[in-house]
């Protein structure tokens, strides 16, 4: 379940590298034109980006201060008001125990976002160590790490997550760690190749020629430049991590009931999909929107990063 197709990000970067490489009397005009068209693309998405940003901000608000958007108690049951379809009192309807789905979706933002962010942080953190080690610690380490990554790649992500969960038992923490672990190899590859290309870039040589020490070059040039795209990765990754964590919850391996976590809500609602569609529709929709919004913003960042 590597969170992203590596190609997607890598393609953007190699594009950047390509345009930087071909500058010259001739290439400059071309790259100006290229940038022009990129700007055009960005303009086309401008509205989408604003909407995405607005949506994510409201999610963050919901995570930080859910009471503001939904003053009710997400756990308050009312069996007599179970399965109420969306309407005035309950904009998203109620679930099988009469809990208000809107309230639960809002209160679910915090756990879902935390899982997404934490899983991505674990994945990217691990990948940073692995990727940078592979790229910078010499050929033997690179060989070892690359083989390790290859092996991890041979495990489909969900399988890796399943194994982790079988060993350590289901729950929020395990599924977060599982998603993080499962996504790490994908990130590590990207970070490795990114670091390698930064390390091989002319400005690093220029720093060597100036007589900078290895440590200083690492700290001042390689790390920051290799890390910039990691931002993009993280943004793109959070949405997908939310989706994968939800998948684990959906398989009954994630958050424990009755926590208002989106994936767990979907899991609970799927049994009523024919009679109470709203129970799965709204949590699912929020997951899709959250993932889509992070992607939109991630791509925007990525394009900006391309210079």
């Amino acid at each position: 379940m590597s969170v992203l197709p590596e190609g997607s990000v890598a393609a953007g970067w190699s594009g950047a590298a390509g345009s930087a490489g071909s500058s010259g009397p001739v290439g400059s005009a071309g790259s100006v034109a290229g940038r022009g068209s990129r700007r055009g693309r960005r303009l086309g998405l401008g509205v989408g980006q604003w909407v995405s940003l607005g949506f994510l901000l409201s999610l963050v608000l919901a995570a930080v201060w859910p009471g503001l958007l939904a003053p009710g108690d997400p756990l308050a049951i009312d069996p007599r008001a179970a399965f109420v379809p969306p309407g005035w009192g309950h904009p998203f309807g109620t679930d099988e125990s009469g809990r208000d789905i809107y309230t639960r979706v809002v209160h679910g933002a915090a756990p879902s976002l935390v899982i997404g962010v934490a899983a991505t942080a674990i994945g990217v953190g691990l990948a940073l160590v692995l990727g940078m080690l592979a790229a910078l610690a010499g050929r033997i380490v690179d060989f070892a790490v690359s083989r390790l990554l290859e092996v991890l790649f041979a495990f489909p992500g969900l399988l890796l997550a399943l194994l982790v969960i079988t060993v350590y038992g289901p729950g929020v923490v395990t599924s977060t760690v599982a998603v993080g672990l499962a996504t790490a190899p994908g990130y590590a590859r990207i970070i490795r190749s990114q670091t390698l290309s930064v390390a091989a870039s002319p400005y690093i040589e220029a720093a060597v020629v100036l007589g900078k020490s290895r440590g200083r070059i690492l700290a001042r040039h390689i790390l920051p430049n290799a890390l910039v795209p990691v931002f993009v990765l993280v943004t793109l990754g959070v949405g997908q991590a939310i989706v994968w964590a939800a998948a684990l919850s959906y398989l009954g391996l994630g958050a424990e009931p009755p926590a208002p976590e989106w994936g767990a809500m979907l899991f609970a609602g799927k049994n009523y999909v024919t009679s109470a569609w709203w129970m799965t529709f709204f949590p699912g929709l929020v997951i899709v929107l959250a993932a889509a919004a992070t992607t939109v913003l991630g791509r925007a960042l990525q394009k900006r990063g391309v210079r």
Partner: protein, 325 residues
């Protein structure tokens, strides 16, 4: 110019480097398989629970102490872990994947009976995803701004849709409401439509994003301008030039897509009640059926290795730059 001469020389020598590359690949594949088996073996042994229990019908079965001891002895489970591991490796080396604890059947035959369905599902889903992604990319880059925005919006949403949710929505629409398509898989092609779509749509979203990006790059590339300057038609440009460039990163992504599809198969096969490796795996993991899990992991890892070789080959075929590099 020297580069060209060199290229010709390499052709003349042909087989030597090819063989060496093949051997290297083989060694890499064997390593991956070994590591996968080892990781899984020790990973599953970390799980609390006695494999002998699993052999005797799982926890909750009222197996007697003698029966447990006998089963342990029979299966070498009383040996030290390292010896068990070596024995397992020895068996694996001879192609013997062992016997499933829960299904009391040879792992190889279980996998053999399940793999077909999963492969069919995965291959069809990949093909459909390709069709959707290419079609969408070509359409979205042809029209104006609105088409582009709609296209990229669709891709992003498609990539964001969790397949478990998509499956529910598709079933709700096409089976329960419209009654057009069966909700569970049937032997006929109709039963494949929803499972394939469920897997293909999110994948198409990912592929589409990458493909569209490179289609746009190809459309903006000087060689396209140069083709236009020769009087090439818009369709000609798409068919002769852009399509291939668009496909390249998609091909490179197909190795990743394989793993993704296997992950997805776990969910889709469960929802649509399809037999297959994904469901076998989920059950086996839940039942702690170590031999079966190791077997499936090995087969999947092997599949991954094969797909990587194939996609490498495909992109080499499609892109001479790869060969030069």
């Amino acid at each position: 110019m020297s580069g060209v001469v060199g290229a010709r020389r390499a052709d003349a020598r042909g087989w030597g480097p090819l063989l060496r590359g093949l051997l290297l690949r083989l060694a890499g594949a064997v390593f991956v398989l070994w590591a996968a088996a080892t990781l899984t073996f020790f990973g599953l042994r970390l799980i609390p629970g006695d494999p002998a229990q699993a052999l005797l019908g799982g926890p909750g079965s009222q197996a007697s102490a003698e029966a447990l001891a006998q089963v342990r002895a029979e299966n070498g489970l009383d040996q030290p872990l390292i010896l068990q591991y070596l024995a397992q490796l020895g068996r694996l080396a001879t192609g013997d994947l062992g016997t499933s604890y829960a299904q009391k059947n040879s792992v190889l035959s279980i996998i053999g009976s399940q793999i077909g369905g999963t492969l069919l599902l995965a291959v069809l889903a990949l093909a459909v995803a390709w069709l959707i992604a290419l079609g969408l990319a070509l359409w979205a880059t042809r029209g104006g701004r609105i088409a582009a925005a709609v296209g990229s919006g669709l891709e992003i949403v498609a990539a964001a849709v969790p397949h478990f949710w998509l499956a529910l929505v598709l079933v709700l629409i096409f089976s329960t409401t419209l009654r057009w398509l069966p909700a569970v898989s049937t032997s006929g092609p109709a039963g494949l439509v929803l499972p394939v779509l469920t897997l293909a749509i999110p994948l198409a979203g990912f592929l589409g994003q990458v493909i569209r990006e490179s289609v746009l790059d190809a459309l903006a590339a000087p060689f396209t301008l140069s083709a236009r300057a020769r009087g090439e038609t818009e369709n000609g440009i798409r068919w002769r030039h852009v399509l291939r460039h668009g496909a390249l990163p998609g091909i490179a992504l197909s190795g990743w897509a394989f793993g993704w599809l296997i992950s997805g198969a776990v969910v889709v096969e469960t929802v649509f009640a399809r037999p297959g490796l994904g469901r076998t795996l989920l059950n086996a993991v839940q039942l702690r059926d170590v031999p079966l899990v190791v077997g499936v992991v090995l087969v999947v890892a092997l599949g991954y290795v094969l797909v990587t070789v194939l996609t490498d080959g495909a992109s080499r075929l499609a892109d001479p730059r790869e060969r030069a590099a």
